[in-house]
């Protein structure tokens, strides 16, 4: 735990993929359909860094977090933990759990309603090497680290006696009890009152800095990503469409989907722009697997977008975009338009 310096890559996903096979809507012989929830995602989580994953519902960000915590098995790709490839065939073991922890989205559902708060903290501690005698002291320590004081007052309570913000802190505390190196937070503030969101965000950032945690912060709110993240990736339909360090992804988005996300954040300074259409609404909502996934909704879609997967282009240092608009002339020349645009 000690010999981790800020910036070390702790967990790396290489070509991580998850496809779900689903039956069609109805009928005995309905065709099976493959949903590409996560498609060939590469990312690395670094000690002391927060990686924000932004995307709309169904973009695959939760599935990605579940795969990284190995609750969901990937259908392709590999995971590298501390430089060693993880055997994805083997069942998830306690050793992995003690390194990678996932904080679930809904604090009201994630804590067993029939047990006192002590139970969930205690189990996490006992499972990961705390002796019975030390449990109480450790539990106090953990609750203090998420600024729930005095701890005893919380440990004796049942979940229904606490508020959403407090439960989310308990939820985070449970993850921390394991003393992980990597914390994956799946929309940790989306179920909370607006008034306590900032407190939880600050807490996460602080834990990341103080403990040198590698953190993945999943959100659909691009503004909160700007607040907390060192690096931001934007996902659409299972693919990373844009990624950048610092806040440049919000200040200077290049991918049309990121622009859509940024523009849909209400801006009190610019009330005039609120009726501007940011993407084609109506029309096709399905994903285009042949070309760019976003092409059916994209306001700037060209013919090539409908027929060919866009390449990844580096638009600035560390700022990547998967879009034909930014593609270099060599990248354009490498493909020929093969299919007609879809109506």
């Amino acid at each position: 735990m000690s010999n981790v310096t800020k910036g070390d890559v702790l967990l790396e996903a290489k070509g991580l993929t998850r496809h779900f096979v689903v039956r069609g809507d109805s009928g005995l012989f309905a065709k099976k359909r493959t949903v590409r929830a996560v498609d060939d995602v590469n990312l690395s989580l670094r000690a002391g860094h927060v990686l924000a994953v932004v995307g709309e519902s169904g973009s695959g960000k939760s599935v990605l977090a579940r795969m990284l915590s190995r609750i969901t098995a990937p259908t392709g790709g590999s995971l590298v933990l501390n430089g060693q490839e993880v055997d994805l065939k083997a069942p998830r073991d306690k050793a992995y759990a003690s390194q990678v922890q996932l904080v679930l989205q809904d604090p009201f559902a994630a804590i067993n309603p029939v047990h006192r708060i002590m139970h969930c903290i205690e189990r996490a501690l006992l499972l990961h090497g705390t002796t019975k005698g030390d449990v109480l002291a450790k539990a106090h320590e953990v609750l203090e680290s998420v600024s729930l004081t005095p701890p005893q007052q919380y440990l004796d309570r049942f979940p229904h006696e606490l508020s959403g913000g407090q439960l989310q802190r308990i939820n985070i505390a449970r993850g921390l009890s394991v003393n992980p190196r990597i914390l994956l937070a799946d929309e940790p503030i989306s179920m909370l009152d607006v008034s306590v969101r900032l407190g939880v965000l600050n807490l996460l950032r602080e834990l990341c800095d103080n403990r040198n945690l590698a953190m993945m912060y999943i959100t659909h709110d691009i503004a909160s990503a700007r607040y907390i993240a060192d690096e931001t990736v934007v996902m659409y339909a299972g693919q990373i469409v844009e990624r950048a360090r610092d806040a440049s992804i919000i200040d200077a988005p290049v991918h049309p989907y990121t622009q859509l996300l940024v523009n849909s954040v209400p801006d009190p300074e610019n009330l005039e722009s609120r009726h501007e259409a940011t993407a084609k609404v109506g029309g096709s909502t399905g994903f285009n697997y042949e070309g760019c996934r976003f092409s059916p909704r994209c306001p700037d879609a060209m013919d090539i977008c409908h027929s060919n997967q866009p390449p990844v282009t580096e638009v600035a240092e560390g700022h990547l975009s998967r879009c034909w608009l930014q593609a270099t002339s060599e990248q354009r020349a490498a493909v020929s338009i093969t299919a007609k645009p879809i109506a």
Binding site: L104, P113, C120, A124, T149, Y154, F158, L203, Y227, E269
Partner: protein, 325 residues
């Protein structure tokens, strides 16, 4: 740390009270019975009197003694069958619901078979194969009843387990690395308690009913005493036709009272197990009298003050007129 609070709503208290009386009678019944229940030394067909609190039978036996002695066998069979059937249903239901797949299919098939077989005829068949000495053994009869009565509970528990299996708190337990059996019995199990408890109560009630039925039909050893054999002898001596209500009534009423007490307790189960409802059965006034503390939610969520604030861009202040336009 206060752990379990006894429910105080009157329904539950009455239920527990009645059940307690019968449990005490189960233990001390044969000792406090005034006469030998099989002795026919008394004047037949006596109405209730100070010598014979519940009168005597056509055969000159003391009804009160029969009721007290018969209580033990009836209750013991009921409770043994109830507990054994519930344990069977927990094992089958939880395993089928949580593990799923082939295990689920196999166990579901098994419980469906037991559900489809009519219980009473099966019991009669099994019972008739028992050696006649064993027919009087409450333990054996209880196990036989349990064998035919577990399937319903297993199905209900399986359904509930399946609905709990994908809840977030179960997943959270998996994330911290809990073992499968621990998740089943420590995380899902307690959430099944309300269903489990009412299933237990109704299985006990079912077993008492089935045992009485078997005895009433003369399928257990009629020389031993339980409430069913009392009714068997009353029926075969036409007690109801002869208007001997003191003979027919008491065993029937006793069975009804046991049933009532179990049903009343069942009302309180949810309140007892669900921590939210523990003070639920009481009025605000009664709660104050009993000193049940209402624990309000803890106050505000602490927001820790951070030393470096994020940079706030300078927002141009619009004048009031500007907004009005």
């Amino acid at each position: 740390m206060k752990s379990i609070q006894i429910p105080r709503s009157p329904k539950v208290l009455i239920g527990f009270g009645i059940l307690l009386v019968f449990i005490v009678l189960t233990v001390i019944g044969p000792w406090v019975a005034p006469y030998n229940p099989s002795s026919s030394a008394f004047i037949p067909n006596l109405k209730p009197s100070w010598q014979h609190w519940l009168g005597t039978t056509t055969l000159g036996q003391d009804v009160m003694s029969q009721l007290l002695v018969g209580c033990r066998a009836t209750m013991v069979v009921g409770f043994i069958a109830g507990f054994v059937a519930t344990i069977l249903s927990i094992v089958v239901g939880l395993a089928a619901g949580y593990v799923g797949g082939r295990t689920d299919e196999g166990l579901s098939l098994l419980s469906n078979v037991f559900l489809a077989i009519p219980g009473l005829p099966l019991l009669i068949v099994i019972n008739s194969y028992l050696p006649s000495g064993e027919q009087a053994n409450p333990l054996v009869v209880g196990l036989v009843i349990a064998l035919t009565g577990w399937a319903w509970g297993a199905r209900v528990l399986r359904a509930q387990t399946m609905s709990l299996r994908d809840r977030d708190f179960v997943e959270a337990a998996r994330i911290i690395g809990e073992s499968r059996s621990r998740i089943m019995f420590s995380e899902i199990g307690p959430n099944l308690l309300p269903i489990l408890a009412s299933s237990l109560l109704f299985t006990i009630l079912y077993s008492v009913g089935v045992y009485t039925t078997l005895a009433f039909l003369g399928l257990t050893n009629v020389a031993t005493w339980n409430w069913g054999t009392m009714l068997y002898w009353a029926q075969s001596n036409n007690a109801a036709l002869a208007n001997e209500w003191w003979w027919v009534g008491p065993p029937g009423i006793a069975i009804a009272l046991v049933g009532t007490s179990l049903a009343l307790i069942n009302f309180g189960i949810d309140e007892f197990i669900n921590p939210r409802l523990r003070a639920g059965g009481l009025s605000a006034r009664r709660r104050r009298q009993l000193g049940v503390a209402r624990r309000p939610r803890l106050g505000f969520t602490p927001v820790q003050r951070i030393t470096t604030y994020p940079e706030i861009s300078t927002i141009p202040v619009t004048s009031a007129e500007g907004i009005a336009q």
